[in-house]
Amino acid sequence: MAERTLRLGHLYPSLMNIYGDRGNILCLQRRCRLRGIDLEVTPLEPGDVLHPDAFDLLFMGGAQDREQRLVSEDLAATKGALREAVEDGVVFLGVCGGYQLSGRFYRGAEGEEMRGAGVFDLYTLHPGPGSKRLIGNLAAEWEGGSLAGFENHGGRTYLGAGAQPFAKVVHGYGNDGVSGYEGARFKNAFGSYVHGPILPKNPAFADKLLSLALERRYGDGTLAPLDDTLEQMAHAAALRAR
């Protein structure tokens, strides 16, 4: 097979990098390398203009509040093509803050509003200062099996008609602690509160993202199997953690 290349745009690696989110990039790089796929990773920092057809995959991690405000402003200024790219089938993953900011808006504890990228038809509300943060180990079921990791968020996310839930909560809180749903999906875009990071110990989901990107670019999403012994052990331990 001719060598295949995937282009990954990493949104705000210097700002949205909390909760070990760089592990997601390490994971995609490794799983590509072992299969002879060349994964080119390009950081997209504030001021870098996003072109809708420049990438096959886009990733945005979580951050602290101050960084999220900076990101919200920059998303509108230079990353307006995010929505267009997702409409066109580009694979997207937003985790935690990156999930919240890929919705329509985030309303913070003091009522201040941050605009999101509008990738998903959803919004996030923080119930106010002193309200309970949703913190703990999270297990969920998605179409590819079980999903495990850790969540830590003050905002509650509510899906609109245009977004599908990504997974069903088995234990933990998920989007809002009430609906029983975790994350969102629209076309090839996924949003999730699961960090930990999400991809290394959920290898089936990591491969789903790669497979979708290969399918879109090359018309064939087939992936060679890998030795995931440690990944499955870590997955099982994360599912057990309460």
Partner: protein, 463 residues
Amino acid sequence: MAAARTLASVWAAKTTAIASRKLRRGGGTAASGLVGLWLNPGLISDLAAQLGQGSIVITGTNGKTTASLLINETARAAGLSPLANASGSNLTRGIASALALAVDVDGGLDEAERRLGVFEVDEATISLALPQLRPRVAVFTNLFRDQLDRYGEVETVAARWREAIAAAPPGLRLVLNADDPAVASLGEGRDGVVYFGVEDKKLHAGAPEHASDALFCSCGARLEYTVAFYGHVGHWRCPDCGRKRPKPSVSARLVQLGDGHQARFQLESHGEKSSLSLGIGGLYNVYNALAAAAAAEALPLPRHALVDALTSTGAAFGRQEAFDVEGRRVELYLGKNPAGLNQVLSTLLLDPSRTVALIVLNDGIADGRDISWVWDADFEVAAGRLQHVVVSGSRAAEMALRLKYAEWDESTLEVEPGVTAALDKALAATPPGGCLTVVPTYTAMLTVREILARRSGRDPFWR
């Protein structure tokens, strides 16, 4: 009535400590303090008022325990009689316990005029400790992301510190790390602050590493670094508002880290300069020594006592502590957050003779239930350096996965969740006369240390 109440709570605390030790439930510090505070919420201020030399508190993400030990030893070398809380018991209950166990049965303190309280305080507890202890000096070592599920974001901790300092009783003198922008900014607008920092530009690590959390100025602009030592610690300035690293009066120059077991440097403090050899290794311990030196300047304690303490003090509880077990040297390096672990790793790499390691990752409440932080530590720097690594703890598999993604050779990794079994395997893989390096999280350190202490014939409890 206050005296009777104080006395009753002191007795209750003492009795609890004895019972707790008898039941082998640990050193008995937390439980006795809890009981004492439950009976008398004013216990700390009642007893601390007897400390003739007042007290000093030490807080921050990393370095609290070691800096406290160095200050304690400096006070001792100066002829004072320091009163300290046990390592790890750094919530109000630990402070209450230390005080209650130090006074005699009628509530009085021996040699009260020579007593100096030296209290390590959890970074989230400082707002409670300052009004109760009314310390003369507060030392802030550094601020990094640590247990985000428990402490919250770095910004939240910094805001709590600012509030605690603003509300503190008058007369409080601050000792601050000039090289950490989140800490140095606590001194804005205050008099008498003693700043400490490293002046040795050859330790420049390039760009600030991944585990950096204070990259923005309070004005919102991104900070610039002429020198980055580790994390966001370095020589920083704001290009927009002009804030910059304060010039420290206590500093280290000509730093030589050697093989990581000791550190040599030229210490400037009390307006004098001299070279010294520190009994513990790594750049992070140079910072701990500077924190102690700046504390000595602020209290003040004489420079000769400081130099005595810095050159002669060994490792603190679980921090570079060494044990002789079955003919092997076992070294314990607590690693509990990305910035601290990065410093531990870079120190360990200075000694090429290390070939076997035991890494233990637990997700207990005191470790942080969220283990994602191991992905923010730079294990990549040690890829290919070790021949055998046993990975253990309640989240052993995740740790092994992290090492796999850091390109550590998978065939050198052995996963054994049970800590005792893992220690046995690691010891078996260490040649007689060789060195086993153990890097545990906090609760794992307590478990491993107890086993090591027992097997090397030492007291499992810290003094």
